[in-house]
Amino acid sequence: MTESGSDGRTVNAERQSALIDEQRRTISELETPVIQVWDGILALPIIGSLDTMRTQQMNENLLQAIVDTGSEIVILDITGVPLVDTAVAKHLLETVSAARLLGAEVLIVGMTKHIALTLVHLGLDLSGVTTRTTMAKGLQLAFGRLGLEVVRTRERQQVVDSPLSLDD
């Protein structure tokens, strides 16, 4: 369908702009999915670099998820973030602050010696930010905060599958 005249060009540009907006939103939702790993615990694995716009989108998704699930713990996994500099650190602190305003505590996991030294060197105020090196440790801390305990109730079962045993 074609439209002529300057109005037509504006309309097409608007349509394109709307389409780009929608695609951007889809991409950003896929980029930082918010996962409910347990009752009251959300996890955000961040893959890739974290810029202002992405942080804004991430914060919006996260806060809405906190409201929807009533979660009180958020585990932010930065293992997939290639570079943590002042800008990225500030973005992470924004996420921590925003979640706190909704009554949720943010644990940052994926901490490495390199990042730790960088953050110390940058001299940012990291009081009130809890971090761990791995997601497993973060989960352990989260369970502890919620007063939960993981207990082994039986021996681990070995499951041996015959490749042909689809129905007996």
Binding site: N59, L63, I66, E94, A98, L101, L102
Partner: protein
């Protein structure tokens, strides 16, 4: 009073902001809460901001004032119901809500207040209160 009804619930004061607050309304809120705290000796203030669409630097500072007043009068302050849009804007504005605890909703907020008060270790009064 219709702007932000304040009710007493046991050892707590519960204030719910119902409409958009002008600057002078915010100041009144601080005055009325301080007076109510002094009069009742309440140990906690639950401030419900779920109807609030915007918190700017003035209101933000004022909330900090409320929390400080409350602290001086022996009470903890918990703000509940901040909308995601408001929380994000607050953070981007660079506002720190000093001395203010936050929770998602009134239920979690009063649980938080109860635990903060319990941590203070109040001895029971002779009539059991």
């Amino acid at each position: 009073m219709a702007r932000f009804p304040v009710i007493r619930l046991g050892r707590l004061l519960i204030a719910t902001v119902l409409e958009e607050l002008r600057d002078s309304d915010a100041v009144d809120l601080r005055e009325e809460l301080s007076e109510a705290l002094e009069k009742t000796g309440a140990l906690g203030v639950l401030l419900d901001l779920s109807a609030v669409e915007m918190v700017d630097s003035f209101l933000g500072r004022l909330l900090g004032d409320v929390a400080l007043c409350a602290q001086l009068l022996g009470a903890h302050t918990v703000v509940v119901g901040l909308r995601p849009a408001v929380a994000i804007t607050l953070v981007e504005l660079g506002l720190q809500l000093k001395g203010v605890h936050t929770a998602l909703n009134p239920e979690k907020g009063s649980a938080l207040l109860r635990s903060l008060i319990a941590r203070d270790g109040h001895a029971k009064r002779p009539n059991g209160r």
